[in-house]
Each structure stands twice: as structure tokens, then as C-alpha cells.
């Protein structure tokens, strides 16, 4: 195995594009190192992107936030303005692993590891986050929803790396929330999860995005669930309709952590609860 720590994005891309054999990009390493140690992957080249300027920065841009690919979960949680604007995105990331893992783990790694249960991904999709990708054919911007295409699989091409995410500017009275179910209180993998991003006007929902995790091969956006609550102040009937729409969008598996039936029901329930939290955070009164 060869280890490289390039100082520029172009060098990182060249190294990855020109490499023969298996490559891995190293940001926080909390998945890559585990896979390495367990012998699940034996890369010929590991490219550490943390020495590239900007990779560890959170910058305010066009009213929104640009988050470098190597920013850790702990750094996200310490950025007061980002937490205020996107509490759901931050709480999703902060559910990943322990304090130790938070010291290194990144949004990028969580996304590119492409686990169906990745905790930071549903809220990123609900927030309409855009990934900036560098590659041999130049940079491109892609919605986060289009990165993971199946368990352990991404749409990134050879030589491509995510360099940053952009969270768009927030209108007034908008917020988000993320909830997951695990059988214990900490340090576990989601059995089902839901992220809700809402914008309110005059006490009613005018825009909504609802994304479920761990109930399909990738995170699932549920437009019908959003439609069920747009124009409402989250009365019980609308929330019930939203939960039903969520259940209809689930396509989970049964495994040791949960059955198809349990995951489906739980996803709807979590979406209801997350919607209420996002609504309150956005200044709504129920």
C-alpha cells in the first residue's frame, strides 16, 4: 500500500486517476481504517486529502455554508451559526459513533461509505445540499441525493473526489430535524430514520422535504409525504397522511436489527416526530 498526502486537489485527482488497482480516499478514516484492518479492502493507494487547503474549513457563502470534505463531526457541532441554521444536518452527523469517532469522521465519508443507514445523509438530502466534485474532467456539482446509488456504491467516477458540500441560504422561518431509532441510547446503527426540512409562512408549512434512512438501499426522498403537510400547521390528520406516505415509500430488509414491518412503521412515526421538531424550530406554534 502506498500513502500519499497531496497538497492540492489537482494532485489528489491525478494520483487517483492514474492509479492502477484499488484506491481509497482518506478523510476521517473511521470507515476506511476499519475496512483496512479487517482485511475487507486492500488498497494499493490511499490518498489523504487533509493537507489540501480548504478541506477543513466551514465558510459562509451566498448566505449558506460551504463545508470542506475533511471537516469532522465535532467541528460541525462547534460551529454555532451552522448549528442554528441547520440543526437537523448537525444532529444527524453527531449521531455517528462516539466522541472519538466524531473527532475524525466526516459528512463526506459517511456519504461515500454509502451505508443505507448513514445518519448524516437523510438530513443533507432534505437540506438540498450540493456536493462539489473534482475529477479528471474538471469540477462538477451534484445533489447529495445522487451520490449514493446502492449499499457501498456511489456515482463517483475513477479519479473523482468530493471536495465540499454547500448548504443553501435559509429563508426566514425554516429549520430541520433528524431522528433515528436504535435499540439503545448511543453508539449504534439506525434501524430506521427520518429527516424533515420545513419552511413556514404565517404559521403554515409552505415548503417541505422528507427523507427516510435505513428503509431502502439508499436514502429515500418522499415527495408525497411533503405534499401531505404543505399548507398545514401540522394538524394530526395531515401528520397521519404524511406517515402513511412515508410507509408507502419504504422498501426495507429484515435483518438482526429490525423487520420490514417494524422499519416501515417506525419510519413513519419518526417522520411525524421530526416534523414536529422542525416545525417548532422554524418558529411554528401548534
Amino acid at each position: 500500500m502506498r500513502f500519499e498526502q497531496p497538497k492540492t486537489v489537482n494532485d489528489a485527482v491525478s494520483l487517483l486517476a492514474d492509479a492502477d488497482g484499488l484506491t481509497r480516499v482518506l478523510a476521517g478514516g473511521t470507515d476506511v481504517l476499519v475496512q483496512l484492518r479487517l482485511g475487507m479492502v486492500e488498497p494499493d493507494l490511499v490518498v489523504d486529502i487533509k493537507a489540501i487547503p480548504g478541506m477543513r474549513d466551514i465558510t459562509e457563502e451566498n448566505g449558506g455554508f460551504t463545508i470542506g470534505a475533511a471537516v469532522s463531526g465535532a467541528e460541525l457541532g462547534e460551529h454555532a451559526k451552522l448549528v442554528a441554521a441547520y440543526p437537523g444536518v448537525v444532529e444527524g452527523m453527531e449521531l455517528v459513533g462516539s466522541t472519538q469517532v466524531q473527532g475524525r469522521a466526516t459528512l463526506t465519508g459517511n456519504l461515500c461509505n454509502a451505508s443505507p443507514a448513514a445518519d448524516s445523509v437523510p438530513a443533507m438530502i432534505a437540506a438540498d445540499a450540493i456536493a462539489t466534485i473534482a475529477g479528471p474532467d474538471g469540477p462538477r456539482e451534484v445533489p447529495v441525493a445522487d451520490i449514493a446509488i446502492g449499499p457501498g456504491k456511489t456515482s463517483l467516477k475513477k479519479g473523482e473526489i468530493i471536495t465540499s458540500f454547500h448548504l443553501p441560504a435559509r429563508p426566514a422561518n425554516a429549520s430541520d430535524a433528524y431522528l433515528r431509532f436504535i435499540p439503545r441510547t448511543e453508539m449504534d446503527i439506525a434501524v430506521a430514520s427520518a429527516a424533515v426540512n420545513l419552511t413556514l409562512k404565517e404559521g403554515k408549512v409552505v415548503a417541505a422535504k422528507i427523507v427516510l434512512g435505513a428503509v431502502a438501499p439508499t436514502a429515500v426522498t418522499v415527495p408525497a409525504a411533503a405534499d401531505a403537510i404543505i399548507g398545514t400547521a401540522l394538524d394530526d390528520a395531515s401528520l397521519d397522511a404524511m406517515a402513511k406516505a412515508c410507509e408507502a415509500a419504504c422498501n426495507p430488509i429484515t435483518d438482526k436489527r429490525g423487520t420490514i414491518e417494524f422499519r416501515t412503521k417506525t419510519a413513519g412515526t419518526l417522520a411525524k416526530r421530526a416534523a414536529k421538531i422542525a416545525f417548532a424550530r422554524a418558529g411554528g406554534k401548534s
Partner: protein, 158 residues
Amino acid sequence: MSKLHVTTTINGDSREFLCEPEDTLLDALRNTLGLTGAKEGCATGDCGACSVTVNGRLVCSCLMLAAEAEGQEIDTIEGMADHDKLHPLQKHFLEGAALQCGICTPGFLVAAKALLDKNPDPTETEIRYHLAGNLCRCTGYDKIIRAVQNAAAEMRGA
């Protein structure tokens, strides 16, 4: 493949070492540098026995490549006591019998210090969540939590 040369700062001292590309920081600390306080429990980032700080940030040294330590400031359990004078956390772990076999103890101490450096007066809940990535299979945690609370109180001058 030739070995990689790494220059780093460990517990305030400039250190250099050679490592293989696939060596973890924990491998380098224990096998090359002779700093055997950090332990390998699970090697997958679940148990926290290998906890160290990198630039003040708590991490699992089993989940970091040794080569990544280039230019970084690493602090380990070996740097916690001030020569013969134990850190208040170490003292209260001993006085409160917050350890039995001791394998997890260096990780708990490093993790607890990282908490108290940022939050000198944590609640019990905050302590328990902060230490959720440190596993102890002997004590049942209560004595560890009390020791951290007592050390925090002493450090605040309470």
C-alpha cells in the same frame, strides 16, 4: 516499499519515527515509540482503549494511520501526570477504585481529560454520553463517572 518518515510532537516533545504505510498511529506509539499506555481493544473504534488527542481533539489511535501524524501534536496518557504528580483524574480513579483490570483506564483518562478541558463542570449525563465510546467490562461505569465528577470538582477548586 520503503518506510515513511514521520516527524511529530508527542506530549510536547518533538519525535521522529519510521512506519509502514498501513501502520496505525497506535502501532507506532506502542511498537515503535514504546508508549504502551494506549491499548488495542477492538481495533475498530468501538472501545476507546486507544484514545489519544491529536491537536487537542480526542480520537481513536487505531483509526488513524501513523503517517497522518506528520506535523501533528499528539498527547497520550504518558503525558498526563506532571512527573511524579498525578493528574486529578488519575488520583480520583485510584482513590475511587474506578478500575479493576485497568486495560480501559488510559483511554478513559484521556477521554475524560478531553471533556474537562472543554467543559469543567459537566452533568452526569454529559459525562456518560462523552464516555460512551469507552468500554469497561469490569466496573459497571458508576465508579468511573464518580471519579470524573470528583476530579472535575477538585479542578474547579470546589
